[in-house]
């Protein structure tokens, strides 16, 4: 079946695409107990994107969150600043919570950022793991799934058609509505974010949209299942899975030695999880990051190269994005991480993943 969605083409002759992502959290550095100002944190997002570009990374991704300990509520606005501050790197949301936004407005915003950035924008739409934004933005949590599915499909339709006729449950109908501006290349690459629900992976496959899969902890093989479900569903619904990219996204932290990496990063992940999710990250599970089969990309540069390659071999993913600023990581360490990721890890990974 012809896929009517606009699917990004990833040039696999250049190897695995790599980038970084931030959820936009704004948390005290647990090593010092100090939290930077909101203004400084927002400026960090822009700096991180600039550094990622300088380090040669392919993509910078920023998510939307609306509860305490986050600073990226207006993520499209921040991405717009990043569009101005950078020239080459792809800029993506990850995730835009489409359930609690009007898809017309989301499309207008991201098309505009796309034009400002000269065609570098992508959108990753998600359902939200924390749900305070439903009350905040005036939606009913009981409609959690239906809201997402309806609005996501409308967003996909707006992306395909400049004049939109549409009817649904959660907003007034559109009658031949002209949705502008259009992105530079006519369409935006739109992905679906999946955070560990097999049903959500299956939906992504059924719709024939590319998938971002977030992974927190555990072994890589656990996450292989979600990708299998996604590809199975896509193929059942007649889509060519070879043309549907999969991106993986998870914790990343590199230091000279694995022990230093764990020592530095563990308090960030543990405290950050407590504040954003309610429970810390068990030390035992974190210690398993030293095993090649663990999905946590924490360790020395060589260890991480081996892990990303192992994961790529298992997943056949086309992109990997690293979350290296979670839980109040000080900016000098963020810089160091981006530098090692771009200068040491990425060249090695790309060398072995070129097709």
């Amino acid at each position: 079946m012809e896929n009517k969605n606009f699917v990004p083409t990833i040039d696999q002759t250049k190897g695995l695409e790599m980038g970084i992502y931030s959820l936009g959290d704004h948390i005290a550095n647990p090593h010092t107990g100090k939290r930077i100002s909101t203004q400084q944190r927002i400026q960090e997002f822009v700096e991180m994107a600039k550094l990622s570009e300088q380090a040669g990374l392919d993509v910078f991704v920023l998510g939307e969150s609306h509860q305490d300990y986050f600073a990226s509520q207006a993520h499209a606005v921040i991405l717009s600043a990043i569009a101005q501050a950078t020239e080459k790197i792809k800029i993506s949301s990850g995730a835009t919570i489409i359930s609690t936004s009007d898809p017309v407005r989301v499309f207008e915003n991201f098309s505009t950022v796309d034009l400002l950035s000269n065609g570098r924008v992508e959108v990753v739409a998600g359902r939200a793991s924390r749900v305070g934004l439903f009350d905040l933005l005036g939606y009913d949590l009981r409609d959690y799934e239906e809201l997402f599915e309806e609005k996501f499909e409308l967003l996909l339709q707006i992306n395909r058609e400049e004049y939109v006729t549409w009817e649904g449950q959660f907003r007034k109908p559109l009658k031949n509505a002209h949705v502008i501006p259009r992105p530079l290349n006519g369409h935006l690459p739109i992905w679906r974010a999946v955070g560990g629900s097999p049903a959500s992976s299956a939906r992504a496959g059924k719709l024939g949209v590319p998938m971002y899969m977030a992974h927190l902890g555990g072994t890589a093989s656990v996450f292989k299942r979600y990708i299998d479900i996604y590809r199975e569903a896509a193929s059942t619904y007649g889509f060519d899975t070879k043309k549907l990219p999969v991106s993986t996204a998870g914790f990343f932290y590199v230091a000279e030695t694995s022990q230093q990496a764990m020592k530095e990063y563990y308090p960030h992940v543990n405290e950050g999880m407590k504040l954003t999710n309610g429970q810390g990250f068990p030390k035992q599970a974190f210690a398993q990051s030293q095993d090649k089969h663990s999905i946590l990309n924490v360790g020395s540069p060589q260890q991480i190269i081996e892990k990303i390659l192992y994961q790529h071999e298992m997943f056949d993913n086309q992109r990997y994005i690293a979350q290296l600023d979670f839980g109040g990581v000080p900016f000098e360490n963020i810089m160091k991480n981006i530098e090692i990721l771009g200068n040491t890890i990425m060249p090695a990974v790309k060398k072995y993943t070129k097709k």
């Binding site: 793991s129 563990y266 309610g278």
Partner: protein, 188 residues
């Protein structure tokens, strides 16, 4: 250590009476612990809808956050229709999957008939295991005939409450030791 007693019913009085005895016993034995009792009858707790426990508000937020902050949890439950009451199950549903990780949990059952003796074993313990609790193996089962007015008037039952309280403390203490040793086994 932070000790929370939970009276898991939103009606009746026997579970609360049992938990009052347990609380008194705990405070007498370990006066320096931070002990609180939550009686679900006194709170307006919403039904779980699957959201993260941090996203609830009001009484619901208070009850589940108090439970999440505990090191030791003493659960009191009546038996309704051969099972735990919906009010208690709802608390479990409100909490995250691994809510009892690193917590020691003890069980106090009340029932109208000794036929329900195994309800805790078959229905409550599997839930607590799933949620990663360190469960104190012995439980206290209080039969309706043990109550008189607002007290338990069976010496044997009172003795068993005392025993479970001290056992729970020793279990929790050794569990803390286990957690500490495990923590120290990691070099980061």
């Amino acid at each position: 250590m932070k000790v929370v007693l939970l009276s898991g019913s939103n009606v009746g009085s026997k579970t609360r009476i049992t938990m009052n005895h347990a609380k008194k016993s705990w405070q007498e034995k370990y006066p320096d612990h931070d002990v609180s009792l939550i009686d679900l009858k006194e709170y307006n707790v919403e039904f779980s809808d699957g959201r993260n426990f941090l996203d609830y508000t009001g009484d619901t937020a208070f009850v589940i956050q108090t439970i999440m902050a505990a090191d030791i949890l003493l659960i009191g439950s009546p038996v309704f229709q051969a099972s735990i009451p919906a009010s208690l199950k709802n608390i479990f549903d409100l909490l995250p999957q691994n809510a009892f990780r690193e917590k020691t949990v003890a069980i106090f059952m009340t029932a109208g008939s000794p036929k329900h003796f195994l309800v805790a074993e078959y229905q409550l313990k599997p839930i607590l295991s799933y949620m990663k609790a360190n469960i104190v193996p012995s439980i206290v089962f209080v039969d309706e005939v043990d109550f008189f007015k607002s007290e338990i008037n069976n010496d044997d039952t009172l003795m068993r409450i005392e025993t479970l309280v001290s056992d729970t403390f020793v279990f929790a203490q050794s569990y803390q030791e286990f957690l500490k040793n495990r923590e120290e086994s990691f070099d980061f």
